[in-house]
Symmetry: C2
Subunit: 459 residues, 2 copies
Amino acid sequence: MTERLVVIGGDAAGMSAASQARRRRSEDDLEIVAFERGRHTSYSACGIPYWIGGAVTGPEDLIARTADEHRARGIDLRLGTEVTEVDTERGRVRSRDPYGQEEWVSYDHLVFGTGAVPLRPPLPGIDAPGVHGVQTLDDAEAALAALDRGEVRRAVVVGGGYIGVEMAEAMLRHGLEVTLVDRNLEPMNTLDPDMGRLVRGELEGLGVRVASGAPVREVLTGRDGRVRAVSTDDDEYPADIVVLGLGVRPATDLARAAGLPLGASGGLLTDRAMRVRGAERLWAGGDCVEVLNLVSGAEQHVPLGTHANKHGRIIGTNIGGGYETFPGVVGTAVSKVCEVEIARTGLKESQARAAGLQFVTAVIESTSRAGYYPDSAPMTVKMTAERVTGRLLGVQIVGREGAAKRVDIGAVALTAGMTVDQMIDLDLGYAPPFSPVWDPVLVAARKVADAVAADLRKG
Amino acid sequence: MTERLVVIGGDAAGMSAASQARRRRSEDDLEIVAFERGRHTSYSACGIPYWIGGAVTGPEDLIARTADEHRARGIDLRLGTEVTEVDTERGRVRSRDPYGQEEWVSYDHLVFGTGAVPLRPPLPGIDAPGVHGVQTLDDAEAALAALDRGEVRRAVVVGGGYIGVEMAEAMLRHGLEVTLVDRNLEPMNTLDPDMGRLVRGELEGLGVRVASGAPVREVLTGRDGRVRAVSTDDDEYPADIVVLGLGVRPATDLARAAGLPLGASGGLLTDRAMRVRGAERLWAGGDCVEVLNLVSGAEQHVPLGTHANKHGRIIGTNIGGGYETFPGVVGTAVSKVCEVEIARTGLKESQARAAGLQFVTAVIESTSRAGYYPDSAPMTVKMTAERVTGRLLGVQIVGREGAAKRVDIGAVALTAGMTVDQMIDLDLGYAPPFSPVWDPVLVAARKVADAVAADLRKG
């Protein structure tokens, strides 16, 4: 008997699940229906800042697989169609198509790939013309249209996280005066403040004004109703365009209404196989779930395309009769703003504290290549290790070319549960164009290992 | 009572040992005498191809610490002074200074940091003017003088390993016609032949003629006695300059004469603490020792500055009253020729076979960045995993910018003894400028994991 898989959300997690299930099960065996309320499928949201900045031409380039391609592979993809209710008792979802037509569709397997919604605090003026989110392809198109109008000289980016700094780069590329407004004391709140301070310095070096330490209070508009400035408790920042990069929250209203288990940050909770916890035929992945952080041992919301793709593939494999599980994350993230590279993995200090972990840290400065090699660039590495055991807890890097992906060394070491002592003599690639004879990560490992030892001697 | 540390060899291993011991023990407690038969100390041999190629100005840039700097830190450094005999019975070495003056110097600790000697097969014409080694700063100066003479149009590089391809780049930078002669069927014999073939293609794309599959038979000279060509069984290759990049062997004549334990490749054998095996007051590190390969479980000669520095520091720490050991290597090496990056870690197929390991492999093609991001460059990754267990055995990468240092992911995974299944969902840094949403290493891990599973099904 033919089973039916219903997918809610036509992006990375949902469509990866659909594709992988289709690869394993024929159309006679498994019917696949995917609902996407937007106009596009499988696009790279991570690429949007680069489209807006002009490094990438869009939107075609950002679409990994079009609706037609999915359909050609035997997936009944329904664009512009929203799922408005999930009835887990009777195993069916209610959909509403672009013409308002409603339909109940029953499922044998249901995948939540509902993604995340951008945070948009209910501030005065937040919906004024000239205020732009950067989550969807439509958002990007709107922002580009505003920029192309040509009367735009000053940009205020609200939010100093990854999206914020990437959008600061995009605005710089349009030749705008850029102010980055962030409520935290330093930008890049996913790093410790001392590393965030380095990012601030780099941003300022690029000509970005960094206004941090106070949240946005209001978006001020002119007589024409368009945005004219952003105000905080500290000051007022003139703006012809405002870009919101405040992060996202899991889009789990449907799941909540269906009484499914949600975590502290509102994401769906799953088991190792990416089944909704305690539910038999329900699966969830991507930006709408919480994932296990292997370092803290706690669940966390980590909206990243790379995880969404992994989740989707795992779900599709399991629905397809295979067996695969998601081990969890270690909190790796990389980003750049112009030539400045920013990376982190593991726990920052406040996260370690929240997990009940005690730690020592070390910060070192080194270079991306042998000091004598051309274009050798400075790099700062911060490493955190657990007291007593010396287990690696986190790595943060700010530098130039060659800095960000070095964090992968830390990501693998965290996954393997290595101590910093075990990292000191790691056999990392060395040649003058690629590294000093002591890779910066090794220098940091040595210094934090010394700190672990010194701490032990203190008792 | 003051002890005396005698160091033979003033380069990375020896001088790191001396410096580290000095940091831990005062001059009253430990006298340090270091013998170096050349004119320089602590220079980066790895930087020589870049000096010859003009990317780096030398030789000052390549000298990490000058003789005077060592002396200022309380090390009695004797340049131009060779140790001609080691008398382990009476704990003394015989030295000969630049004036032929001989002296016996007794030691409480002796460090062998004698390095390696370049291979130079006894071929007809090998000593003709115009044939250049590239091991020492003096070698580099001689080669540069020859190149500056300006009558040089055609270069033949003998040897297609790291030094060979790096020297091919250096010769290209001088605007020469370059032929790379290598006895193996494909260049980069530290890779498997299928990956070496990619390197050949890249070299040819850069305009290098690759003449492989036959060893050099003779260096032919003209009437003036200078080199005019290199011949193999296959052909004759005209040359105005010949560069030898045939690799090195451990410089262990002194150790051999003293009856110390040597391994299959002629390197000194040490214990974990870098003591000469079975000897109490003797230590050895750097290019003159063999190291444990953690993947094969066998000893191997791996002449790399990064290991030499680690060995030296460990020896110095242990002589200084601390405790540190060298865990071994996993065989990581990175190199580049112009924009082409080449990397390997773990075992190549023939090494795995020699270690008694059975394996499956996978080769994938991916890109350095998201496909839509500017300057995204192709990258080929080969991964090898043990049959049945799925343990990672090796990674090889050929690509462009961002390819080489990705091998560090494999290096850490090998050190941790991970299986390729454990690597599939590694939380590696992802953002469009740094990686496709599936990092190439993850794609390779997945493919080889599938191969392990398929092999298991076959039984």
